[in-house]
Symmetry: C2
Subunit: 597 residues, 2 copies
């Protein structure tokens, strides 16, 4: 037996017991012939004492003198109360210490490349190369432990709500739409390749055709995309869900309670801004927050003043309206916070606007004496009154403007809004705000005058099959498709699917793809839809991204036990690697010559 | 709203309620203007009635007349009691029917390629091509549902016992030992490849170095092996588990209760032969059952009679012993079952023995009058007495012999033993019998006189580091390595790992691999083991194989929602497929010319 207790469980109740502990040496202190060793494992830290006058064998003392940090040792000894005044309230085991009688070393350790403590400042490259050491650090371990609990909570929640967990294949066929597939050459089938699923989209629809009715899975997904801070390279996980005989509202009635329960259970110290999630159509969200994944923890919504400034003396605004554009404004409530921005703060925000393509960033400052702005002199009293009627500015507040083409103005103000959030602490990091974004446009007009799918081709359009009637403008077709935004991240995407094969064929015709092409590219779904398809729909939560938000992480790599680097490498395992010729030959492939650039 | 109830929940309690159902048309019966439609979903079957005299609209009647099997329809109507004598006790909903007022069709269906019923005899190829229809069949769905419950039970059990679920990477480095890896060409790193993990072996050991202490995962594993009945191609799942500061007994104390609880919870109608699992060393198991995965549901163990027949007048036996071989025998207890085998049954068993390399299959038949056999005339009374002392044969029993080289005799008798099990129903299919097989030999002698690892190179040898002392015969080294057999299948494999880097290097030296090679091939583990390694060990249960046994399936493909075919193809999704040149170019690979054979 290597241990009778872990390093996180001995308390005053154990005083007088002989125990065996096995763990890592966290640190050592020598006090005049008596050696103190803190032993550390997953569960905690226990202080051990090697004292020749309290029964430590000479061999144990000799060993203890040889210990270095991260040695793995086993000790047997007596639990006793710590001397008065030496208790440590921060540790569960802080009232006791173990007086060692016998010790042995399981394993020695070289000097670790970084400190194994909670505040290690080692760079990510070193940490990932030695992830097995990084995992010994409490904050890193706690994230992995949080992930395990979130996995369990999620699976239990969906199972308890009647969803059947189905593991869909990891080896599948290449899907012609979407991001790049990862491929696996087949040894048994010369010149053929499996693909890893970008998501189990087709499988989950086939499960609905198969009568599974309610499905979920924490599904591994694979996309050959370039890594970025909120997207892990190679592989990531989504909470994938699909249900039959549902309309959009039925689906929201699953996703919304799940998200609420998840927050309440996993991060009870965090607060939902709104228990019922607000809803914005895609177009409203762009118009109001300049984003299809708005951060609604803070207000600063945009108001439209086009009508008010149509004939303004301020030609920038009037011209924008005459050109078919918009005049929008948002209020920065300095009155509730830090007051009016400094000159350099305003310059920073102007630079943000300019980086997004604006010429500048017009604004009005409200002081105790009233409004102040270089553009005020162009405004009529009515124009100012219109602004103030809608914003009711107080001293300390500011109003910021955007004028011009609608999409550009929304994008610019949206970015400025987020920059103000970050610069002036406009959000409470313990607040979580979800918002539904609905009614995504089905199509976009390409430069060459043809149409492409803007989002998921398999979504049911509003209006059903009739949406595709002759003569309908494709840009006027909206899908029963929705996202859920959370604190400015997209955390869910889904839709009611188009279960009518004739309508599906029509949807593809608009982007210039005939029935034969649909059949060739989506053969399984095309075939399955011939045999009785229930109306169905669903969603996928980005598991990793949700976890990142709940754990206040900004780097998605922190939430994996063994993350890939920012270059899509596993530096610890040395993946990817060159492969020997024999193995490639078995797979019927060869590597191309590297072309000089 | 598409339904107020499912097709599995309406009972007499709902009589008088107006309900909406949406489901598949299972079948239709017309009775003089009244149409009966059984509607089927995941939850059950509900009878609906279209009767113009009971409020069905003419449009509903017209629709019902157009229904074919597998149409998906929605109906609204009134729940009423079935007329006297028409109740169906086999259905939860058998006391009621729904009198349809209004109906609509969601989706039509072509004639399915096979009957959607519990007893479909369609061949596997058709079923897999249309798996979405196969899934509508109750026995198929029930297996997938069983799998979901087993997933949940397993994860809950390990979580509740303090194990942390960790998702290890699916994109990793190629591992030089073991089966063939599947490879993924990297787009970002020209000429390099990721590999899919054959098992998370290295990761779980690194988790132990990282202090995770107790880890589990239902891990997807990938091996490029040729498919067979008890091995799914491409991907399969194992219950992967590892723990720190443990010895073999501690590990058994986890695996054994898990297996017991799994049986008790998932298949309560099945019975464990022995609550405490018997243990056999690898060598004992071979000597006693002729297999390292013995089916111990029935006895028929081998007894050794070498000493008794050393000087026998039966020269086949005497010669075998003189040549250093064995004489083994097992008793077939016809007295408890069908009595003595027929001539043709004996011939069949002899053919089994011969197929395995035996010259024949000697036997003695016990009749009421006493023993009878062509070889009896060569036996002395003492020889016969020795046999009878150990087997105590009754009339109806038979004794079968094998003589010659030990491994061959064990293999032959082992196969004959299983052939008798199958031919004469010697086991109860509701009985489950586990057995531990321990102490696997570390090395095997190759034909060229050098040694190779017989099993896992990372196992700790019995005797620890000292096992590798100078002059020790490698064939005398046994690993702390074990399997768990269940009803004749290997369902678990594991070991106490060798956590001592010096000993690990020695283990590899015996097979001619130096330290530099270990470092190059197992870099992550080699590096990690420099920084304080706890003693650790674990196991992996074959999740799919366990499930197969619990569900009495003999074809492992039955236990996946979307299985690969016996040729490693997904015929429904058409994977693997050819890939276009552009995509291969991005991955820096090309397909080799197909050589004519």
């Amino acid at each position: 037996m290597h241990r009778s207790h872990t390093c996180g469980e001995l308390t005053a109740k154990n005083i007088g017991q002989t125990v065996t502990l096995s763990a890592w040496v966290a640190n050592r202190r020598d006090h005049g012939g008596v050696i103190f060793i803190d032993m550390r494992d997953r569960y905690g830290i226990t202080q051990t004492v090697y004292d020749p006058e309290c029964g430590a064998t000479p061999e144990s003392i000799r060993l203890a003198e040889s210990y270095r940090s991260e040695y793995v040792v086993k000790v047997t000894g007596l639990v006793r109360a710590r001397p008065d005044g030496q208790n440590n309230d921060k540790l569960v085991t802080g009232d006791i210490e173990v007086v060692v009688h016998h010790a042995e070393i399981f394993s020695e350790s070289k000097l670790p490349p970084f400190e194994i403590d909670d505040f290690s400042q080692a760079n990510e490259e070193i940490r990932l190369k030695h992830r097995y050491l990084d995992l010994r650090r409490k904050p890193v371990f706690e994230t992995i432990e949080f992930r395990a609990r979130m996995n369990r909570f999620t699976r239990d929640w969906f199972s308890d709500h009647g969803f059947l967990e189905v593991q869909t294949p990891i080896f599948t066929a290449s899907s012609p739409e979407g991001a790049r597939d990862f491929l696996i050459p087949s040894r048994l089938h010369h010149g053929k390749f499996y693909a890893l699923p970008q998501a189990p989209q087709q499988y989950k629809q086939l499960l609905m055709v198969g009568g599974v009715d309610k499905y979920f899975q924490i599904a591994p997904c694979f996309r050959d995309e370039d890594p970025r801070a909120d997207r892990h390279s190679c592989e990531f996980y989504q909470i994938d869900c699909e249900m039959s005989f549902v309309e959009q509202e039925d689906i929201f009635e699953v996703a919304e309670p799940f998200a609420r329960d998840l927050i309440a259970n996993m991060v009870p110290h965090k607060r939902l801004k709104s228990v019922v999630f607000p809803r914005y159509t895609h177009s409203e969200s762009i118009d109001t927050f300049g984003s299809d994944k708005p951060d609604v923890r803070f207000d600063m919504h945009f108001e439209d003043f086009g009508e008010d400034f149509r004939d303004s003396g301020f030609s920038v605004f009037a011209q924008a309206v005459r050109d078919g554009g918009v005049v929008k404004a948002m209020k920065y409530e300095g009155s509730k916070g830090k007051g009016i921005m400094s000159r350099s703060e305003i310059d920073t925000m102007t630079a943000v606007a300019q980086a997004e393509g604006a010429k500048g960033l017009a604004y009005i400052i409200y002081e105790a004496e009233g409004p102040r702005s270089p553009i005020l002199k162009f405004f009529t009293g009515n124009e100012l009154a219109a602004l103030e009627a809608r914003f009711a500015p107080k001293p300390g507040d500011m109003i910021f403007f955007g004028a011009g083409e609608r999409k550009l103005v929304c994008k610019v103000l949206g970015k400025v809004r987020l920059a103000m959030r970050d610069a002036f602490g406009l959000v409470d990091k313990n607040e979580i705000a979800f918002a539904w974004i609905t009614d995504f446009p089905m199509y976009e007009l390409k430069d060459d005058g043809t149409y492409d799918f803007e989002h998921n081709p398999f979504s049911m359009p509003h209006g059903g099959v009739d949406a595709f009637k002759e003569g309908v403008d494709p840009l006027s077709i909206y899908g029963c498709q929705y996202d859920l935004a959370c604190n400015g991240y997209e955390v869910l995407s889904g839709s009611v699917r188009n279960h009518n094969i004739a309508a599906l064929v029509k949807a593809f015709e608009i982007v210039g793809k005939g029935e034969e092409e649909v059949k060739a590219k989506f053969g399984a779904v095309y075939n399955a839809f011939q045999y009785g398809v229930p109306p169905h729909g669903g969603f996928a939560f980005g598991f990793d991204r949700l976890l990142m938000i709940l754990k206040d992480e900004t780097n998605i790599r922190e939430i994996y036990a063994f993350p890939k680097s920012g270059k899509a490498e596993d530096t610890m395992m040395e993946a990817p690697t060159a492969i020997d010729e024999k193995q490639l030959r078995e797979l019927h492939i060869k590597v191309r010559e590297h072309k000089a650039k």
